[in-house]
């Protein structure tokens, strides 16, 4: 499946900003399940000091500065991504028992295992909480295969937590999310990751987009999409397996991965420091558009001819 994704972030300042420095995590990375054909940033006003690098987690991170006074900042990321159908080879019931995975993670020191260690511990937004372990143990019963148990955990988060964009902000601590059983995709991913880590498993936060399809008979609304988040658990010998607790399924062809990290703080799409600026307002729009299955070059030409 091919997608063109347009992710626009616009800041309005009440007073001029003289200088700002920013870091984005908006460019789409390559993964086993997707190929990013093209991913570019458009920044207005003109940015200087632009440097792209791969961060610790392998994400594409762009640093830039705007060194002239400005009252508005627009950052647009446009990406053409091809997502391959994921095949979840393993039947959940046949994976290793979760305790065995914990033991392997604890005792082995192969490069693969060392590489997933950062995802085993508390992270800035996901502390170790007794309530997480308690919640996890209902799914992680003794001897249960890891994937079956994780699937069950995902289903329980889907069932037990209500989606409520008004209930939490970025600053809402995880403990409160658990207590109130409300939140958004980011919170659900954090809850599941915290559960898995509290038992000694490796789990990571995945940020990206999801294609939303309009109800039958209706037009797709452009720009009405949003960025999305889910989680992945590490199974030695197989690698990372994704779960989407907001939608209660394992991602197939409709999830586009941008970046991953220990939690949201590692993959925040855009952060910055501004000198001056007074108050600011921010508007974000995301558009995930399915592209006809044609060679990319032609597809680009078509776009240029469009409105």
């Amino acid at each position: 499946m091919k997608y063109r994704i347009r992710h626009v972030t616009r800041y309005h300042y009440s007073e001029a900003v003289n200088l700002c420095r920013n870091e984005t995590c908006l460019l789409v990375r390559q993964t086993e399940h997707q190929r990013c054909h093209n991913s570019v940033l458009q920044i207005s006003p003109e940015a200087t000091d632009i440097h792209e690098r791969n961060d610790f987690f392998g994400n594409r991170r762009t640093h830039f500065a705007i060194q002239q006074p400005h009252e508005m900042l627009t950052v647009t990321a446009v990406s053409d991504v091809e997502v391959f159908p994921r095949v979840y080879l393993q039947k959940p019931e046949q994976s290793h028992p979760w305790e065995m995975v914990v033991e392997m993670l604890r005792t082995q020191r192969t490069p693969d295992i060392v590489a997933v260690m950062p995802y085993r511990y508390p992270s800035p937004l996901i502390p170790l909480l007794p309530s997480l372990a308690d919640y996890a143990r209902v799914s992680m019963t003794p001897g249960r295969p890891l994937l079956a148990a994780t699937m069950d955990l995902m289903q329980r988060v889907y069932r037990d937590f209500s989606y409520d964009p008004t209930s939490t902000t970025i600053a809402t601590p995880l403990a409160e999310v658990i207590e109130k059983r409300r939140g958004v995709c980011q919170d659900f991913a954090h809850v599941a990751i915290g559960c898995l880590r509290s038992l000694g498993l490796a789990a990571r936060y995945v940020s990206g987009y999801i294609e939303t399809l309009p109800p039958p008979g209706q037009e797709r609304l452009i720009g009405a999409d949003a960025s999305h988040a889910w989680f992945a658990v590490y199974l030695p010998g197989h690698g990372w397996l994704d779960f989407d607790p907001t939608n209660n399924h394992q991602p197939l062809e409709q999830h586009i991965t941008v970046a991953w990290g220990r939690d949201f703080s590692d993959v925040s799409p855009l952060k910055g420091i501004a000198l001056g600026g007074g108050k600011h307002q921010v508007v974000v729009s995301v558009d995930v558009a399915r592209q006809p299955d044609q060679p990319l070059l032609m597809h680009q030409q078509q776009q240029r001819q469009g409105p």
Partner: protein, 849 residues
């Protein structure tokens, strides 16, 4: 204890007890150097006690052990102990090698943690001590950081065990540094106890600092010829600000705060009075995670700093991220790591450390909570007290819970039995356990150890391992040498054929602004104090003689005081009469109420705050004077305000303020810092004078009243004597105006302030390419011109029955406006006010279904 006879030292009995003490302490045999020290002590006799008090006072006055601006309540409260801790040549040789090895080891660990992480793969270091440790900074671990990540400075706290072996108690890579305190202690020793050094060859400390300077120089990647190196501090409220300022000033680097630095084009720039100057090396005293608010989670620091480091445009000492080494649990794994990296054993062991992240060790720690020292592996808030052997049941329970819930976060450490050394406590010779902090710098391809250190002495019954950094006494540390003294000059350059041109360090804009305000507050405080002094004299006269004319001139002085201090309504306005009738409460408040802007103590505190921010730029004695004045607070009640005691107190303050300006005048080089201090002073004096004259001389009175007012005006300007000598006449407005307004050569006259301002401003660096360049010079020239074109006789003309002198009033108003414009212009041209930083985290909650 205090009542011990003062002759204690010189009596033979005490010499014996000294010997006994030294032997019992196990400081080796009663070897030659301890004997020598004892002889030197005996020779000093009773002088020891006076010198001891002097040293304690010096330590305090220099600000090493108290910081009135520190808001952390964490100020060091050290006592001074004049008996040094002495290392023999042999003993030191071993320590020196062991410390170099340890610094090398930590450097290798740092590079591995941020590089290939072989230690984890090879099971020499548990991953729990790296990945979730608060000192491990992921943005510094992405492989884009310059190699090699060099650990440049390292410090170890060492104890001597009763078996004569040394143990490392603590390793430090960032805070605290402490080498500055060590230097300060040596300075005080040589000043107060020069006799103690007799016959002992003690290594100097300067060589270490020369190596530090050389090392910093090697880190410079651009601008090799004229490298810019700065010391970055969190500011005067930091408990160790003294050391930051001390090191900056000793090493000759500008002391800057985060707001002084800006990142542009991936380079770090210092905002200075002569524009942006690129910075090559930053000796950072900030916490690691507070150094770049863009990429790290802490607040403060310089946005974009990490990117500048990544691009190789600035070097940090120590590298950002090295706090991952600030972890006591590493001690448990050092022996294995040492064998892995260096193929040998550790030359000096660490105190036994059990990391609770391992089940067996955890069990041991939980079972021995009472006798171990419990520490977290990274800074943690809200921990209960942990005093081995003195834990309450509640504390013990709380610790057990904390450790069990998060074992990987804690270690238990053994309490070592370590040697006690001779020490002075009050006037008594005692033995006390001591720890010594030793300092290491990277030097060429290896490390160099400072031949000296900072020793801390436990108070009686206290355990230094537990009491923390800020308790007990400090003492000098002597390393003996067989060599005769080599003169080491910090400033000798290794390249001999380089032609040296005078080098002026850039003056940071914030420092410039603080100097300007220090000048203004010093003058404002002085002016307020002088006026108050006149008021107090007049108040007494009114009470003694009851002359109604005195009463009227008192009222005018009181009103002038309100105007000059801007403490409205005060003695002015329609409700002022009760206060004028009995001014004592208002006066007391204007003197003592530190939280009332305009009061004497409030101005004094503002002077202190500006001065402490630039203490590295002020002459040492001038700073000391400011510091001393901070405690000025006359304890005189309302009823006694007219008595001589309050007058004496204010008089004493006037003298201290004069001493401050005199010390600055005599000791500061005529560079930009000096110009700005004086511009502030002159500007303030001019504004004050204008306010005073406007309030007192602009209104017309009958001749008797006028004469009295003139007299008090002259008195508060310190000009009465000059006027009488020069004019030998009755009080007349016109000559007074000639003297106070127009005499360019009279240091209290407005014209003189203007001329000085003009001169100082013309000597400021003028960067050609900033907008409004030269605006300051234009303003002051125009003001000067207007003043010189004035005919003082015309000013006293009364045009109508307005009850005022309108031409004088207009002139004063005009001059005031111009001076305010000048102040704004200076702010814009030189101080570039730091705008508020705002952090926009990602607003973008991921919202999709």
């Amino acid at each position: 204890m205090i009542s011990e006879p003062e002759t204690a030292i010189s009596t033979p009995g005490v010499a014996d007890s000294y010997r006994a003490i030294v032997n019992a302490a196990g400081a080796g045999d009663f070897s030659e150097h301890w004997q020598r020290l004892q002889q030197n002590l005996e020779k000093m006799g009773l002088r020891v006690h006076t010198r001891f008090r002097e040293a304690q006072r010096l330590l305090r006055e220099n600000g090493a052990i108290h910081n009135v601006f520190d808001q952390s309540n964490n100020t060091r409260a050290w006592q001074f102990d004049p008996l040094p801790l002495i290392f023999s040549v042999a003993e030191w040789g071993h320590l020196d090698q062991a410390l170099v090895q340890r610094a090398q080891l930590f450097n290798l660990i740092l590079r591995d943690i941020y590089g290939p992480r072989k230690l984890i793969e090879n099971r020499l270091l548990p991953p729990e001590l790296v990945f979730p440790h608060s000192g491990f900074l992921y943005p510094c671990a992405d492989g884009n950081f310059p190699e090699p990540q060099q650990l440049n400075l390292y410090s170890a706290t060492v104890a001597k065990g009763t078996d004569g072996n040394f143990w490392v108690v603590d390793d430090h890579v960032n805070q605290p540094f402490g080498a500055g305190y060590s230097l300060e202690t040596r300075v005080i020793m040589t000043r107060s106890f020069p006799q103690l050094f007799e016959g002992l060859r003690v290594h100097r400390l300067a060589q270490f600092f020369r190596a530090v300077r050389q090392r910093f120089g090697q880190l410079v990647r651009h601008n090799q010829d004229d490298p810019r190196i700065v010391v970055l501090t969190a500011g005067p409220t930091h408990p160790d600000y003294f050391e930051h300022a001390y090191l900056a000033s000793y090493l000759g680097y500008p002391l800057v705060q985060g707001g002084d630095l800006v990142v542009r084009d991936s380079c770090v720039w210092l905002k200075s009075v002569d524009g942006l100057r690129q910075v090559d090396v930053i000796f950072s005293r900030l916490a690691d995670d507070a150094s770049d608010p863009l990429e790290l989670l802490g607040h403060g620091g310089v946005p974009g700093l990490l990117q500048a480091v990544r691009r190789g445009n600035v070097a940090m000492v120590n590298p950002i991220g090295s706090s991952v080494l600030a972890n006591p649990a590493l001690k448990a794994f050092l022996p294995g790591i040492c064998r892995y990296f260096l193929g040998t054993d550790l030359k000096m062991p660490s105190i036994a450390t059990w990391w609770c992240g391992q089940p067996r060790e955890c069990k041991y720690v939980l079972e021995n909570l009472d006798r171990l020292i419990i520490k977290p592996i990274q800074p943690l808030a809200h921990l209960p007290k942990a005093t081995p052997g003195r834990m309450t049941d509640i504390e013990r329970k709380r610790w057990s819970e904390l450790i069990s819930a998060n074992p990987r976060l804690f270690v238990g450490q053994e309490q070592v039995d370590y040697v006690a050394f001779p020490s002075f406590e009050g006037k008594k010779l005692v033995t006390r356990q001591s720890l010594v902090s030793l300092y290491v710098t990277a030097y060429n391809d290896s490390y160099l150890v400072m031949q000296g250190g900072l020793s801390r002495v436990a108070s009686a019954g206290d355990n230094l391992l537990v009491a923390g950094q800020r308790a007990g006494s400090i003492k000098d540390t002597w390393v003996l040498t067989l060599e005769p003294h080599q003169q080491v000059n910090l400033w000798l350059r290794s390249a001999t054929d380089v032609a040296l041109s005078p080098h002026f360090a850039p003056l940071p804009s914030r420092a410039a602004e603080n100097l300007f305000w220090a000048g203004r507050y010093a003058e404002r405080t002085e002016q307020t104090a002088r006026l108050l002094r006149s008021v107090l004299v007049k108040l007494r006269e009114v009470r003694e003689f009851g002359d109604p004319d005195d009463r009227i001139s008192l009222n005018h002085l009181l009103q002038a005081l309100t105007h000059v201090t801007l403490t409205y309504p005060g003695f002015t306005g329609k409700d002022a009469q009760p206060k004028l009738d009995d001014p004592r409460s208002e006066l007391l408040s204007l003197i003592r109420d530190i939280d009332r802007p305009g009061s004497l103590r409030s101005s004094l505190r503002s002077l202190g705050r500006s001065a402490v921010a630039v203490r590295d730029l002020l002459p040492e004695d001038a700073w000391r004077m400011v510091d001393q004045m901070q405690s000025w607070n006359p304890r005189v009640g309302r009823a006694l305000i007219g008595s001589g005691r309050m007058y004496d107190s204010v008089q004493q303050l006037v003298l201290q303020l004069s001493a401050f300006s005199g010390l600055a005048y005599e000791n500061m080089a005529r560079e930009t810092a000096w110009q700005l201090l004086n511009i502030g002073r002159r500007l303030e004096r001019a504004l004050n004078l204008i306010d005073l004259l406007n309030e007192t001389l602009v209104p017309c009175y009958d001749s008797a009243t006028e004469a009295r007012i003139m007299e008090t005006v002259l008195a508060s300007c310190n000009s009465l004597v000059v006027f009488r000598r020069r004019y030998r006449s009755f009080m007349q407005l016109s000559p007074i105006l000639e003297l106070l307004l127009l005499d360019e050569n009279y240091p209290r006259a407005l014209a003189c302030q203007m001329r000085q301002l003009k001169k100082h401003i013309s000597e400021l660096p003028h960067e050609a390419n900033i907008p409004a360049v030269g605006q300051d010079e234009a303003i002051i020239s125009a003001a000067m011109e207007q003043l010189l074109a004035t005919d003082h006789k015309a000013l006293t003309r009364q045009i109508s029955d307005s009850g005022t002198y309108p031409l004088l009033e207009a002139l004063l108003a005009d001059q005031k406006k111009r001076l305010q414009q000048l102040s704004d212009s200076l702010t814009q041209l030189y101080f570039s006010p730091t705008l508020a930083l705002q952090q926009f985290g990602s607003p973008l909650r991921e919202l999709a279904l």
